[in-house]
């Protein structure tokens, strides 16, 4: 479920203000995966950053996971919101190089003060599910790109967030690995959904191959947003 109300974002270059999108509105009452599609520079990462509270819009509101993110919501509140409700997967994996796999995946639990043995087991099971339990003590620089992305997927879902934000999660992977990650991402979201939460996937990508039936596709076009259902 995602609602955007009169959302605008611009950037200024050489005193020239350029809108990426202006007064866009959206009201999605479904938990189906949302795919933000577009080529490089179209503004999909900016939209994703605003939706997740990393960046702030010039004006307007975002309602996500039952929380309103607007100008009155300060950076610290956004941080707190992200910590509890969102999981992130990035193009460049962004695992902490100074932590091994185990510490990387347990980090969100610790930040949320949820590092009970039950939760830890849950995370280790997720790791098992992505086929990397044997790499528990390895450091990120010893893993392949596909492995790193699978670890980052486990890290993103370990604390049972309401939304999984994925920014070009396959942008750095080959075709086979891309498909594998896309499949796992959806599977794990589904797994979470059936067990405890409703995890909604919001993914920004330039790759239309990642779209599956039932996904909601958003495209930024001429400062506006176009919504379509994938069939």
């Amino acid at each position: 479920m995602l609602k955007l109300i009169n959302l605008s974002k611009s950037f200024t270059e050489a005193d020239q203000k350029t809108f990426i999108f202006e007064n866009i509105n959206l009201d999605l009452k479904t938990n189906a995966p949302i795919i933000i599609l577009g080529s490089s520079g179209s503004g999909k990462t900016t939209l994703l950053n605003i939706i997740s509270g990393i960046d702030q819009a010039d004006s307007g509101e975002v309602i996500i996971a039952g929380t309103t993110l607007d100008k009155h919501h300060n950076q610290n509140q956004n941080t707190l919101f992200r910590k509890e409700n969102l999981g992130f997967v990035f193009q460049f994996y962004n695992l902490i190089p100074t932590l091994n796999v185990e510490d990387n995946i347990l980090l969100p639990l610790e930040l949320n003060h949820k590092n009970t043995s039950e939760n830890k087991n849950y995370v280790i099971n997720l790791l098992d599910r992505v086929g990397l339990k044997h790499r528990l003590k390895s450091f990120p620089d010893m893993l392949s790109g596909g492995e790193q992305q699978r670890i980052s997927l486990v890290r993103a879902l370990g604390h049972k967030p309401k939304v999984l934000i994925a920014d070009e999660p396959t942008g750095n992977l080959d075709k086979a690995n891309s498909e594998k990650i896309n499949k796992l991402m959806r599977e794990l979201c589904q797994l979470n959904t059936t067990q405890l939460n409703t995890v909604q996937l919001i993914m920004a990508t330039h790759n239309p191959d990642l779209i599956e039936n039932g996904d909601i596709v958003l495209e930024i076009n001429n400062k506006n947003i176009i919504v379509s259902n994938a069939e």
Binding site: Q75, N76, T79, N94, I96, T98, L99, L107, E110, L111
Partner: protein, 824 residues
Amino acid sequence: MILIKSSCRYFTKHYLQTVLALIGILLGVSIVVAIDLCIVSSQKAFKTSLEQSFGKTTHYLSASGNDISQEIYTKIKKEKQIDQATPVIEKNILIKTNDWVRIKLLGLDPFSYQGFKTTSDKGLDELSQASLKDFLLCDNCGYISSKTAKKLNIQKHQELVFQHESSYKKIRILDIIDDDKLDNLILVDISTAQKLLDQPNTISRIDLIIKDPNELGELVSGDLELVESLKNKKSTQKMLSSFNLNLYSLSFLSLIVAVFLIYNTMSFSIVQRQTIFGIFRTLGLSSREIFGLVIKETLILSVIASVIGIALGYGLAQILIKFISQTINDLYFVVEISEVKLEIFTILKGLVAGILSALLGACLPAYQASLSPAIQHTKRSSQEREFDNYLKHLWKISIASISLGFIILGFSEDYLIINFMALALILVGVAILVPNCIKIISSGFDRVLVSKLSPINKIGIRSIFRNLSRTAITITALSMALSIALALDITVGSFRKTVIDWLSATLQSDIYISAPSLSANKTTGNLSEELQQEIYKNPIIQKSSQNIISYRNNWVKSNLGELMIASIDFNERIEKSFEFKEKSSNWTSDFTENDSIIISEPLAFRFKLKTGDSINLKTRYGFKQFRVAGIFYDYGNEQGIIMIHNKKYKKLWMDKKISSLGIMLKPNLDKDLTIGSIKQELAQLNTVHNFNYRSNSDLKQETLRIFDRTFQITKALKIITILIAFISIISTLLAMNIEKKKEYAILEALGTTRKNLAQITLAQSLSIGFLSAIFSLPLGLLQAVLLINVINYRSFGWTLRFHQDYSIFIQILVIAILASLIAG
């Protein structure tokens, strides 16, 4: 915990960088701890010495440093019926071992002393029970503590040779007692002491336990005075306070340089981990938590470094204590520091100094880290833009800091510690101008010099200006360290030159003869009358001398406390030897004929006296007012001295003793030859009477030797400060090279050889060294001016003439270039 794990892994992965930061803090801490240990140990030794002397004593009766008649004691006991009184003889003697060792001869009366014993006087208890008979009856026998026995390498029943004033004597060690309170003294019965010191009917003082000072009534008259024992302790300790404060301040200067090193290391570690912090922020870590994380890292590092620093400081103290105790002996009082003990308070001080300085250095980097945006990769260029913004504010902070420093200096004349704080404010204020100055000169430097260099050298030097956020701090740290070295060199050099000029003007006699002294700058002993006669009658001396000037030094009571007075024979040459800060127009006639005295500059400073003011001095006839006819420059001692005409002194104090003699040779003599033959005569006399004799040049040399010895500790601290700055350069170059790994890889791919890459690093380090040396010059000169004219004057009251030896500037440049070359 996971966050701390991540930090630990970062710091262990970049171990070299971490080790350098640790060394920076631990060196700073070790100096602070070492200096503190030395000061605490010297104070403790002084306290023990006072306890040995006074015990439970509330007051003592003495005669301003002179001995008093034994009859007074009998009167106190019999006429005044005061039970709690005991006679004491206390004299400093020199013991002949491999070298001459200063020690105290303490003569007590074991019977009357009973009531004065403190609970810790175990040695004296043993004495009273086991061997009192021996103690009383054995001829020339005494006791020493086991530690002293070890120090003097002497066994029970062995004999020791000691020297007191002009004579040598022997003493036998009756027993060795295990009591720390007897350290550095020989305990003898009072009659033994009288015999050994040739003073059959006199004692040094009478210790008393009395409630009312009036109990003694009319006995306290003439030159006798009743002194509160605690007051003595306080006044002597006060004497040392400026000296101690100056030492502490020097040690903290090294710590300031270490702060820059910490800043460098932490800010580098933060730039390197910007991405990690970005991920942390994305995952939900608040800016406050990031700030806390960096602070925790700093705390862990600083605790490790401080603990090692404390251990190192303890070792360093064992070396520095020799310099410090020598200086205290030379300048203040005789104290023998037997050991340096690590006290819990010193450990705490070291920990606090290390942790606080590290936190101070890490504050800004921690704040920068807390501002890390979520997941956005911060580019090095944006880091530089941010630093550029800081620089704009740095101007304001710098000017505010300098202004505040000068304002405080203007209003805090009486509080030395506040003066030091003001100096630190000015110093830091000027130092933080350096980054802005580098920025200003960078474009000119580039146009004039860099643009003409080869591309490889261009890369090296331009990287200094393009990475100001990193290099500016290093250049500032190195400039600070070099400026401290420069300022100390100029200050000590100015002081030395002033003393040399002063000695040349003051020492008018060609040969000086003085009583042996335990303290290098105070001759209060006496030359025996026999010796005086023999000197005056010696045909060679008679034939070659134009004048023999006599001097007498003594302590006198005054309305300002106990002061040192020196009486002097006055003639035209002596008159010319004084250089005055201020004087009355007819000071010569006032000094010779009227009740006028002249006083030294430190004394005038201590009591805020001016020409025309008066001092009441206690003479044999009671208190008498003397007018100050002039204030002369004197660098002999920081407590100050009163000069009085010999004629007046002898009359008013009825003291005919002589402390030293100065022989002025007739003109037209072959000075070297005459001095040589007089020295031969004096050497013969010295086999019978013990005294010191030195030619004018010997005395100058000896004074300068003591002077140089005093400032040896300054040299040691200077070297350590430069060492910390040197580590700072290595740390920065390392940081820059790690950051530029990718850039270097591209250069290598393009065909740049390893030699070229080394050339880049060398160009970087040489630029750092050169710029630091340039900035250190004005910074050092400013510090030197403030140290000479403000801190030194307000600490000791000495006017020093600013003297700069231009070779110091070249030295600084060479040190900077060498340090940067080695680091590069």
